[in-house]
Amino acid sequence: MSWELGIGAAIAFAGGAIGTGWAQSRIGAAGAGTIAERPEATGSVIVLEAIPETMVILGFVVAAMIIIMVK
C-alpha cells in the first residue's frame, strides 16, 4: 500500500474531524448557556450536540473505504 493512500485517508478523516469539532464546540457553548437558564431543555440540547457527529463518521467511512478498497 503506497503512502498516498495513507495520506489521502488521513486528510479525509481530518477534514471530518475538524468540521465536527468546530460545529460541536459552538453548539456546546450555546447549549451550556441554555441549560444554565432552562434546565428542562437539557435533553434537546444533548440531541442537538450529537447531530454534527455525522460528519466525522462519514469522514471515517471514506478513510476506511480508501484504505480497504483502493488497490
Binding site: G43, I46, V47, I57, F60, V61
Partner: protein, 642 residues
C-alpha cells in the same frame, strides 16, 4: 397508546365550594381547564371566581420560608410534623392565616436578630483571624524598626509574583517622603509577601494616595490595636477572637433550641399553606354564578367513575359531574396520558426530547420501541458487547430501582441488547474479530454475501439505506393517516407526493442497475413528475425543499453502517494491539481497556444516533407534538401508574 380523554363539567352549590375543591384535590384526577375559554362572549351569568386570601398566603409562605432558612433543619420529627399538619389542615383558610401570622410574629423577629448578630460575629472572627496572622508574621520585623514619635506604620501585602513592585516603589516612596522612610519585607505565606513601611506622619496622605494609585494592598490596622507594641496587640486580638467565637456558638445553640421547639409546627403549617396556595391558583380556572360554582376539565375515561364516586360520597346529589361533547377544536387541547404496554414504556424516556404528541396524533412510542432496538443492534452488532450491555442494563435496573430515568434507560438497554447479540451472530463478531481469530464463529453467509462488516461494506450500505427507505416511507404513511384523520387535504397531498417521489426514485434506481426491466424508465419519470406537482401543490416552495431533505434523510441512515464500522475497527485495533505486545499480561490488559472504551462508546453512541434518526428523520415526516401532558389538579406530577 394514548388514553381516551373526556371533557367534563362539575357544578355544585357555592357554599360547598371549599369542600368540592378539597375533594377534587385529594382525588387528583381532574386536569383543569379555564372555564372562561368555553363561555360565549357577552355572557353575564358566569363570572370568573375571585379567590380571596391569595396574596396573603403567598406573603406568609415567603416569610415562613425565610424563617426556615435561618434555623437549622430538624427533620427527625416527621411524626410531630404529621400531627401538626392534620390539625392545621382541618382549619378553614382564615384560621390558618391567623395561626401563621401569630407564629411568624413570635418567631420572625427573634430569629432574624439572632441570625444577623451571628453573621456579624462571623465576619469579625474572620477579620481578627487575618490580622492575627499578619501581625504574627511582621512581629519579628518590628524589632528592626525604630520606634519613633510622629511616624506612621503601614503594612502592605503583595503577591509573590508581583514582588518586584516593592523594588519599584522604594525609590518613589523615598522621593515622596524625602527619604524619611524605611521598608522591610518578609514572606507572609506561600502566596504573598508582607512589607512594613515606616514614614513620617507629615507625608501620610501622599503615601497612602500613592500606594492606592499603584493598587497595592494595604492592611490598615484597626485603631484599637494600632498604637501599641505588636506583642500586646496580638494578645488583645486573640482574646477578642475567642470571645467572639464563644458568643457565636451561644447564638447557634439558641437557634437550635428555637428550631427543635417550633420546626415541626412551622413545616406542617408550611405544607398546608402551600397546598392552599396551589388550590387558590387553580381557582382562577373556575367560574361562578350567584349560587353555583362551575369547574371544567379533562379526565381519562378510566378514572371517571372513581371521581364520580368520590364526589357522590361527599356530597350526594348536590354536586354533579357530566361529560360534555367535545368539538374537534376542543380535542386539540386535550391533555395526553400515556398507557403503553410494558415493552414500550422505557421508550417514553426519549419522547421527552420531543414534546408529547397532540391528542389526535398516533403515538410514536410503540413504533420507536420496535425500530430503536433494531438500529441499536445493527450499529453494535457484537455478541460480546451485547451480553455485556445486557448485564449492565440488568445491574442498573436492580441497583437503582428508585431513580425513574435510570430505570427507563436500563429498560432500553436490556431490550436493545438482544438485537445486538443477534446481529453479532450474523456478523460473526465476538469482541471484534476475537471470535473469528479463535475459530469460535464466523460471519453468516446470507443471499450470497458473507456479512463480514469489514469486507461487505457496500452490501451493508445498501441494507442500511433500504432500512432508511422503509422507515421514511413508514413515517410518510403515518403522516398521511394523520392528515386524513384531521381532513387536511394539502397535508395529505404533500405527503403523498413525497411518497411518490421516493417510490419513483427507487424504480429509477432499479432500472439503472438493471434489476428492473428498462421499459419502466419512462413511467418512472412521469411518476416522479406527477409527484413533484403534488408536492408543490400541497406544500408550496417549502414542499419542494422537503423533497431534497427527504432524500437527504434517507441517505442519513447510512450512518448505521458507518458507526458500526467504526466500532468494529476499534475492536480490531484492540485485538491487534493486544496481540502485538510480547508480554501476555500487558497485551491482555491493553486489549481489555480498549474494549472497555469501545463498550462505553457502544452504549452511548448508538443510542444517540438511533434517537437522532427517530427524532429528526422519522418524526419530521409526520409528527407535530406540542401536546399538553396530563397534569391533574392535586398532584404536581401525573399519577404513578400501578
Amino acid at each position: 397508546m394514548i388514553q381516551k380523554m373526556k371533557s367534563v363539567l362539575v357544578a355544585g352549590p357555592k357554599k360547598d365550594f371549599n369542600q368540592i375543591v378539597d375533594v377534587l384535590y385529594h382525588t387528583g384526577t381532574l386536569h383543569l381547564e379555564d372555564v372562561n375559554e368555553y363561555l360565549p362572549p357577552g355572557n353575564t351569568t358566569v363570572r370568573k371566581l375571585e379567590p380571596e386570601h391569595q396574596s396573603e398566603i403567598s406573603a406568609l409562605l415567603a416569610k415562613i420560608d425565610g424563617i426556615l432558612l435561618l434555623i437549622p433543619k430538624k427533620p427527625e420529627d416527621t411524626e410531630k410534623e404529621g400531627r401538626f399538619y392534620d390539625e392545621i389542615h382541618r382549619m378553614t383558610t382564615p384560621g390558618v392565616i391567623e395561626r401563621a401570622n401569630h407564629l411568624i410574629g413570635d418567631l420572625g423577629e427573634t430569629t432574624r436578630d439572632l441570625s444577623l448578630k451571628r453573621e456579624e460575629l462571623e465576619i469579625t472572627i474572620i477579620g481578627l483571624g487575618r490580622y492575627e496572622k499578619i501581625i504574627d508574621k511582621i512581629q519579628p520585623l518590628e524589632q528592626q524598626l525604630p520606634i519613633l514619635q510622629g511616624f506612621e506604620v503601614t503594612v502592605l501585602i503583595v503577591l509573590k509574583e508581583f514582588s518586584d513592585v516593592l523594588d519599584i516603589i522604594r525609590p518613589m516612596l523615598s522621593e515622596i517622603t524625602n527619604n524619611q522612610f524605611e521598608l522591610i519585607s518578609a514572606e507572609l505565606d506561600e502566596e504573598s509577601i508582607a512589607a512594613i513601611t515606616v514614614f513620617n506622619k507629615k507625608y501620610s496622605e501622599q503615601v497612602h494616595n500613592f500606594l492606592f494609585s499603584k493598587n497595592i494592598n494595604e492592611v490598615r490596622i484597626p485603631a484599637d490595636y494600632a498604637n501599641m507594641p505588636l506583642e500586646k496587640a496580638l494578645l488583645l486580638i486573640d482574646t477578642h477572637r475567642r470571645n467572639a467565637i464563644a458568643e457565636r456558638d451561644e447564638i447557634t445553640e439558641k437557634l437550635s433550641l428555637v428550631s427543635s421547639e417550633w420546626y415541626p409546627e412551622l413545616s406542617g403549617l408550611r405544607k398546608v399553606l402551600a397546598e392552599r396556595e396551589e388550590e387558590i391558583r387553580a381557582y382562577m380556572n373556575f367560574g361562578e354564578t350567584d349560587y353555583t360554582v362551575i369547574i371544567r376539565g379533562w379526565i381519562p375515561g378510566k378514572l371517571i367513575s372513581k371521581t364520580k364516586n368520590a364526589l357522590e360520597e361527599s356530597f350526594g346529589d348536590r354536586v354533579v359531574m357530566t361529560e360534555t361533547n367535545a368539538t374537534e377544536k376542543m380535542m386539540e387541547r386535550a391533555p395526553i396520558f400515556y398507557d403503553n404496554p410494558g415493552w414500550a414504556r422505557p421508550f417514553e424516556f426519549f419522547m421527552q426530547l420531543a414534546s408529547p404528541p397532540k391528542y389526535y396524533e398516533i403515538d410514536p412510542s410503540p413504533i420507536m420501541a420496535i425500530f430503536f432496538p433494531l438500529f441499536f443492534g445493527i450499529i453494535v452488532g457484537d455478541i460480546g458487547y451485547g451480553i455485556l450491555i445486557l448485564l449492565f442494563g440488568l445491574i442498573l435496573r436492580y441497583r437503582f430501582k428508585a431513580v425513574k430515568w435510570l430505570h427507563q434507560i436500563s429498560g432500553v438497554l436490556i431490550i436493545s441488547a438482544f438485537p445486538a447479540i443477534f446481529f453479532g451472530y450474523l456478523f460473526g463478531e465476538f469482541f471484534g474479530n476475537l471470535g473469528e481469530m479463535m475459530g469460535w464463529l464466523e460471519p453468516v453467509t446470507l443471499f450470497g454475501v458473507t456479512w463480514n462488516r469489514m469486507e461487505a461494506i457496500v452490501p451493508l450500505l445498501i441494507v442500511t439505506i433500504a432500512i432508511g427507505v422503509i422507515h421514511v416511507v413508514l413515517g410518510l404513511v403515518i403522516g398521511i393517516v394523520n392528515g386524513i384523520t384531521r381532513k387536511k387535504r394539502k397535508h395529505v397531498c404533500e405527503k403523498c407526493g413525497l411518497l411518490g417521489i421516493v417510490i419513483g426514485l427507487l424504480v429509477l434506481l432499479g432500472v439503472i442497475i438493471e434489476m428492473l426491466p428498462s421499459y419502466l424508465l419512462i413511467p418512472a419519470f412521469v411518476f416522479i413528475g406527477i409527484a413533484t406537482i403534488l408536492v408543490i401543490y400541497g406544500g408550496g416552495t417549502l414542499g419542494a425543499i422537503e423533497i431534497m431533505s427527504t432524500v437527504g434523510n434517507i441517505l442519513s441512515y447510512a450512518r448505521l453502517m458507518a458507526i458500526g464500522m467504526a466500532s468494529v475497527i476499534l475492536a480490531l485495533v484492540a485485538n491487534a494491539l493486544g496481540g502485538a505486545i510480547g508480554i501476555v499480561l500487558v497485551g491482555v490488559l491493553i486489549a481489555v481497556l480498549l474494549h472497555a472504551l469501545n463498550l462505553i462508546l457502544a452504549m452511548f453512541s448508538p443510542t444517540i444516533h438511533s434517537v437522532r434518526l427517530h427524532v429528526v428523520e422519522f418524526f419530521s415526516k409526520f409528527y407535530e407534538g406540542g401536546g399538553i401532558p396530563y397534569g391533574p389538579f392535586g398532584t404536581a406530577q401525573p399519577p404513578v401508574k400501578k
